[in-house]
């Protein structure tokens, strides 16, 4: 095994980790702050990629295309939010419905094609995997770090405002929130919109980075997002208590995830087995707190027995 091969692959893993880290922040907003499991993201990340790709191909400025992707992502969240609050469909099912519908929508956006090329040779893109080892301002790692810091900063501000606080309260305790005059349904919809806007933005960045938008680019996105959230929490829960740092931990979690993937690929894992591995890793991390609690409870009991003996 050639260690240089692994080192060569690392910048790419870090870039991908950063992009998926932004996406995972969207997952964090619904999964952790609002306590809603939102599966819309598998669809909305591809929607973001498709919207940005088509707009850039049609001559839009790249920043305008990113903004458009964000707005369209918010609309995806709005649909899920309406399914959930207005039609009373359980959150998970609402997300699955939107995700399914988005598959058709995404094909439409891509002009009834499964994927559309977005070559950095032909268009002015914000970032490209080609520059991943370049020591210039065009290096995607640099650009994505700036993006990440900006996003964390904006969200830190937002969740400190009156509206943001009321959204956190909605996630923490729905009954209490309503008793304090908070429209919990509105906040659930808003947070789904915000989260999917961010996810679509990540999709728009991903399409540019990889040089194409693909209707299947979001498959399993929720699992990768959850992996990032959980890895970030497990590794940094004890040190990062500030909200901004918790968001940062999510991004770092995604980077760790992609580096680990890169390492196991380097060790000889078949690429086709990646999703299986991802699902297993996330299952283990999700189970960890449960088993830890069980183990500790068991040890407490054990102590009790010893005491009596």
């Amino acid at each position: 095994m050639d260690i240089m091969k692994l080192l060569n692959a690392l910048p790419s893993a870090v870039s991908q980790g950063l992009i998926w880290g932004l996406m995972a922040i969207g997952v964090y907003i619904t999964f952790r702050i609002l306590d809603v499991s939102d599966l819309t993201v598998d669809g909305s990340i591809a929607t973001g990629g498709a919207v940005a790709a088509i707009l850039i191909i049609n001559g839009w400025n790249v920043y305008a295309a990113l903004l458009a992707a964000f707005v369209v992502g918010m609309l995806c969240g709005l649909v899920t939010g309406m399914f959930h609050t207005f039609f009373g469909i359980p959150a998970i099912l609402s997300g699955i419905l939107t995700q399914l519908a988005l598959y058709s929508v995404n094909l439409r956006i891509l002009g009834n094609k499964a994927n559309v090329a977005l070559s950095v040779n032909k268009f002015r893109l914000l970032l490209s995997s080609r520059n991943v080892r370049a020591l210039t301002l065009e290096n995607p790692i640099l650009i994505l770090v700036v993006f990440g810091v900006f996003l964390v900063g904006v969200l830190y501000w937002f969740f400190g405002t009156e509206l943001g606080c009321s959204m956190r309260a909605t996630g923490a305790n729905r009954n209490m929130s309503r008793a304090q005059g908070i429209n919990t349904d509105k906040n659930i919809v808003l947070s789904l919109m915000l989260a999917n806007g961010i996810v679509a933005l990540a999709g728009a960045l991903l399409a540019q980075y990889q040089g194409f938008a693909d209707v299947g680019m979001g498959r399993g996105a929720i699992v990768i997002g959850l992996a990032a959230v959980i890895i970030g929490e497990v590794m940094f829960a004890k040190v990062f208590r500030n909200f901004a740092l918790k968001l940062l931990a999510v991004i770092i979690g995604a980077m760790i995830y992609y580096i680990v993937i890169q390492v196991v690929l380097w060790l000889g894992l078949n690429t086709n087995d990646l999703k299986l591995l991802t699902a297993l890793v996330v299952a283990v991390f999700l189970a960890a707190p449960h088993w830890k609690a069980k183990y500790l409870a068991g040890r407490e009991q054990g102590k009790g027995r010893d005491g009596r003996a």
Binding site: L163, A169, A172, N173, M176, S177, Q180, G181
Partner: protein, 267 residues
């Protein structure tokens, strides 16, 4: 004087037409004058909590109307009615957001009934005010304002919820067995605080309790519920001189059966 609360012949049946159908409120009619402090007693399933929740708008009623301070709130959703109400619940977990800190919880309550925009969620001036208010509780919470509420004891959480419910003077304070989950000593302390705050701010309040002694000792009016109706309503001097035996007699006369006092006290 206009009534602060008018409950006009409301009725509520849960799960109508199914095997779990429950007539929770059959016909409740109640008007509260400004400054009334009503204690509400009754056995399990008598409809006490259902009545309070109907006022708070947790669910729509089947019949009748509810108005608070002259405003018909019958069709207002729960979060809009919150502008008029202060509420403390039986479960100490219900009234506060555990993952947010004390001052954030208070800031949320301070904005009850107001539009929540993009201003910062808590100001330095507010923080000072909260510190002062918390110090009056005498629980030392003023020194733990950035602690997560989840770290507080049940009694501390109930005291905080009470403060949050009354910080902005509500038109009506609803206390739903708010000391039932606490140990006797803490319960007594929270009750004392409730009485103090209600007297000081001259609040109109309704307090559900399972404890007949508290129901008799506190407030200027007592109602007893049975099978979804108010069967006993005593006030003024009559209420002041009420004894436990009187109450049981009144109940027997109204409900046509003997009151199981032990159950009421112990459950």
């Amino acid at each position: 004087m206009t009534a602060v609360l008018k409950i006009n012949h409301i009725a509520k049946t849960f799960n109508p037409g199914t095997i779990t159908e429950k007539k929770a409120l059959t016909d409740v009619h109640l008007h509260l004058e400004p400054g009334d402090f009503v204690t509400v007693i009754g056995g399990n399933g008598a409809g006490k909590s259902t009545m309070l929740n109907a006022v708070a708008g947790v669910f729509p009623v089947d019949h009748g109307t509810i108005s608070i301070d002259g405003v018909d709130v019958t069709h207002l959703p729960e979060h809009k009615r919150a502008a008029y109400l202060g509420r403390v619940f039986q479960d100490p977990m219900t009234g506060t957001a555990a993952t947010m800190n004390i001052e954030e919880n208070m800031a949320l309550a301070m904005r009850r009934g107001e539009k929540r925009g993009l201003r910062w969620g808590i100001s330095a001036m507010e923080r000072e005010m909260y510190r002062e208010q918390l110090s009056k509780l005498g629980l030392g919470l003023e020194n733990r304002m950035s602690s997560k509420v989840g770290l507080l004891s049940g009694g501390q959480r109930q005291a905080l919820t009470l403060l949050m419910a009354t910080m902005r003077t509500p038109k009506l304070l609803l206390l739903d067995e708010h000391t039932a989950a606490l140990d006797p000593k803490t319960a007594a302390k929270v009750l004392e605080l409730s009485e103090m705050i209600i007297a000081k701010q001259k609040l109109t309040a309704m307090m559900i309790t399972h404890n007949m002694r508290d129901a008799i000792a506190m407030g200027n009016r007592l109602i007893m519920m049975h099978e979804g109706r108010i069967v006993v309503d005593v006030r003024g001097e009559h209420k002041a001189s009420l004894t436990r035996e009187d109450l049981m007699g009144l109940f027997e006369k109204a409900a046509g059966k003997e009151l199981d006092g032990d159950k009421l006290l112990l459950s």
